[in-house]
């Protein structure tokens, strides 16, 4: 349980980090919070020739508001976000999702951007980025580009990032006034990776009809899955529609079978959690009427 040897680089500036990444190519791995990478090094699942530790890039430990989004720098720890009142006010889904990411002790090191780069299909934060339709700002010595959530996650533990690219920040769109969010998951023990997770963003118009609905699933396939729900707009979120959406979610997903749970059980969980989550979001007047 000890890592193999590696060269260690501690860049002091973003330019140095990018130059090192481009020089090392696929021999180099970025080290952020280390809460996913170091276990893999300890178990020798990963044996990179070099680590590029970005913990010295203090400028990346910043939370700001830009272009209608919360911009979360690559060295912002999950626990820092969790304690940031303004951030939680602007992106209320963070307050629901962050406490589910591992434990307080791992969140004291782990970063939001590291979790996105790691792209674990059962992780909460890639699902959060997907349901919010957020993006990441990616830098390399070749330039800067913005990658939307739907283009970032490619497969199990795989993103569309090139070996010389660094996520410098994540953009989480600020919640419109009437938008409401929910995050729900089933894990065997608190702090464990969820068997499946579900998240959604909804908005109702003055008549109480659905004006916006994004529904997304985690742990139910290779990447966070956004369920097609455009046909629900303009409708009342009643029991019938909720049952139909829960059913659609459970058939749209392609969850794995493993020693924790069968695919059939995970599908059942998706159906149940989606139903519960949507039911809890029904505006109170309608809930009373039905």
């Amino acid at each position: 349980m000890k890592p193999a040897r590696f060269d260690y680089y501690l860049p002091a500036t973003l330019e140095e980090a990018l130059a090192t990444l481009s020089e090392l190519g696929s021999d180099g791995k970025v080290l952020a919070g280390g809460q996913s990478l170091v276990p893999m090094l300890n178990m020798r699942i990963a044996q990179p020739a070099a680590l590029i530790d970005i913990n010295g890039l203090v400028d990346l430990d910043a939370i700001t508001c830009e272009h209608g989004a919360l911009r979360v720098g690559a060295m912002v720890r999950q626990a820092t976000l969790e304690r940031s009142g303004p951030a939680l006010g602007q992106v209320p889904l963070l307050a629901q999702a962050l406490p589910l990411v591992g434990h307080w002790q791992t969140r004291n090191r782990g970063t939001l951007c590291g979790s996105l780069a790691h792209a674990d299909p059962s992780a909460e934060l890639p699902l959060l980025l997907s349901v919010l339709n957020g993006s990441v700002e990616v830098h390399s010595s070749r330039g800067v580009r913005t990658v939307a959530a739907r283009d970032l996650f490619v497969s199990f533990f795989t993103t569309s990032l090139e070996a010389d690219e660094l996520i410098v920040a994540a953009y989480l769109p600020i919640a419109p006034a009437r938008r409401r969010y929910a995050f729900n998951e089933f894990a065997q023990r608190h702090g464990d990776f969820a068997l499946v997770s579900v998240a959604c963003a909804v908005e109702f118009d003055e008549q109480g009809m659905l004006a916006h609905l994004t529904l997304a699933l985690g742990g139910a396939g290779e990447v966070p899955l956004v369920v097609e729900a455009a046909d629900a707009l303009g409708r009342l979120l009643d029991r019938e529609l909720i049952a139909a959406l829960a059913e659609r979610a459970s058939t749209a997903c392609d969850p794995p079978s493993d020693h924790h749970a069968s695919a059939a059980f995970r599908r059942q969980l998706v159906r149940t959690l989606t139903g519960r989550m949507l039911t809890a979001l029904v505006p109170q007047e309608e809930a009373a009427a039905t």
Binding site: R5, D7, N42, T106, R109
Partner: protein, 166 residues
């Protein structure tokens, strides 16, 4: 930019339990092994080495973290506190005394990590609810106590601290 080649020993200067320390370690040495083997702090326990059990938890700049998921080189320039910073056998801290009184340990393997977390937790949550204590403890495995006594000890310590300050 600071660079250390594989196998090369890096000089690491840090503050350990309040004392400045300078030691050498190869880049791949985990902070947990560095604390135990190089600095002699065998009160840092090592269970799983992948972040799950919590036995190796120490405070870095005041915040509880897994020392098995940090490299010793990453602690350079930081304040690391092990459970040894809390109290001594003859002069237990308030939290340690409450653990003693509540029988919150049996074999003691998990205890240094739990004390490190709980100390930082109480500083951040002076009046915790039982639910919050339980959530903090999800980051630690204890195979002996069944946790009840640990929860009681942490809550008792919070009450005692409050009485002491009011």
């Amino acid at each position: 930019m600071m660079t250390h080649k594989a196998g090369e020993h890096a000089a690491i200067a840090l503050t350990l339990d309040g004392t400045p320390v300078v030691e050498q370690a190869p880049t791949r040495m985990l902070l947990s092994d560095f604390l135990r083997q190089t600095c002699g702090k065998t009160e840092v326990h090592v269970g799983c080495e992948h972040g799950v059990c919590g036995a190796c938890t120490v405070r870095v700049d005041g915040r509880p973290v897994r020392s098995c998921l940090m490299f010793a080189v990453q602690a350079a320039g930081h304040h690391v506190e092990t459970v040894a910073s809390l109290g001594t056998r003859d002069d237990l801290s308030m939290l340690q005394r409450q653990f003693h009184e509540h029988h919150a340990l049996q074999c003691g393997f998990c205890t240094p990590g739990i004390l490190s977390s709980a100390q930082a937790f109480l500083e951040e949550h002076p009046e915790p609810t039982e639910r919050e204590v339980v959530e903090m403890l999800t980051g630690h495995l204890c195979r002996c106590t069944g946790y009840r006594a640990i929860i009681d000890a942490v809550l008792a310590c919070a009450r005692e601290r409050k009485e002491g300050t009011s």
